[in-house]
Assembly symmetry: C2
Homo-oligomer: 202 residues x 2
DNA sequence: TTTATACTAAAATCCGATTATAGTCTAAAG
DNA sequence: CTTTAGACTATAATCGGATTTTAGTATAAA
């Protein structure tokens, strides 16, 4: 089958899963909506779960892809870190299925889907690690244990996710995120933590 | 009724809710286990939900109380911040009902219980704010916007909770938390972020 | 290879009957 | 005046069996 057609199936499935959830989406209807035979779907994916996982995977890949793109556009490590966070949170609302995992009452939280969610987390941590390493090499950051630092920051960023997804007042949380970046970059104790003029998020 | 008896009812309820959950705990059995008449419970609490909320409230109060105690034992603001985080995570496993809210599939997540959970979060943020204010006044911290800073840190700490509760490898996450504290206190950019000798968590 | 269709076995839904339980009430005991 | 045991009700949960949906397979034709 052409890659194009396969992507189309995933896209249709993505919409259906986002609207109805895993349980209430059925393959007969998906086949009809995607204008392929049911057998074709089973030929390619093998099971309903696999279709669902392919959707989650695509959503995760999109987030990672967008983050990497945005980082490439920045030259300085601190700004790369800021770009990562901004892009991540901008992309999140598009990954409806992946993020409903966090919010929903476990409706469709099972080992494989959780694995994809965790995988996204650890990929983010890896990217953070790359940024920190570059920052260290170029003299921007001073970090004793880069692996610990990147994981710590990964976890900390996670703390903003739930409310970002649920709240009306996204702007305000954006504000907190901005400030959080300032804090981890400059620290509470450094005298210039007052000045948000250099690495500021607009 | 004596306060003592009332507390005993809450304690028994706390164990039953922790073991069986809100739905599978029934008031007849609770009355029996707590050795009071069912009417007494309804006299005091008015409804099953109110009993449950009283349990959640008590768990939240215990966490806040322990945090405040631990902070009082520290003299320096940075150490107070560290004490807050350490105590919070040490106390968390005791608050079984409150924390199952995070993990469970919404089984017993309804507006009132979420409100208590959020209340705990904002109380933590207030305490952080107090610490930051003291740290600013005494020249330890340099923070432009204390309110933003305390909320940011509150959210960031939240990011460690889920994995702390779920994972086998609590030590490792402890490690991340330690490092996280180092980062926010000293910042990625400050040259002494290497040295973890002063404000170190043992 | 894809498609339409038919097929099966397992799961979900439905529904009426039964049971369990939240919450009220009362009368007696402390 | 409060607590208690027990009776009581109305609603919600459970159960079991019949029915329907649906995941997944098989087949034959395009």
């Amino acid at each position: 089958m052409k890659q194009e057609k396969l992507n189309y199936i995933i896209d249709v499935a993505r919409n259906m899963f986002a609207r109805y959830g895993l349980r209430k989406t059925n393959i007969d209807e998906l086949a009809h909506m995607a204008r392929v035979a049911k057998a074709t779907i089973y030929n390619y994916f093998g099971s309903k779960d696999s279709v669902y996982l392919a959707v989650l995977k695509k959503e995760a890949d999109e987030i990672i892809g967008a983050i990497l793109d945005s980082i490439d556009k920045e030259a300085l490590p601190p700004e790369k870190l800021i770009a990562l966070v901004k892009t991540k949170f901008n992309q999140m609302p598009k990954a409806l299925n992946l993020l409903n995992l966090e919010i929903d009452g476990a409706e469709n939280r099972y080992p494989d889907s959780i694995a994809i969610r965790n995988d996204l987390f650890w990929k983010e941590v890896e990217i953070i690690q790359d940024i920190l390493e570059e920052g260290l090499a170029k003299g921007f950051f001073y970090i004793k244990n880069i692996m610990l630092a990147s994981k710590s920051i990964g976890y900390a960023i996670r703390g903003f996710e739930r409310d970002w997804l649920l709240f009306d007042s996204r702007d305000r949380i954006d504000h907190y995120l901005d400030y959080f970046l300032n804090i981890i970059i400059k620290g509470l104790m450094s005298a210039n933590s007052n000045k948000t003029d250099r690495f500021v998020i607009d």
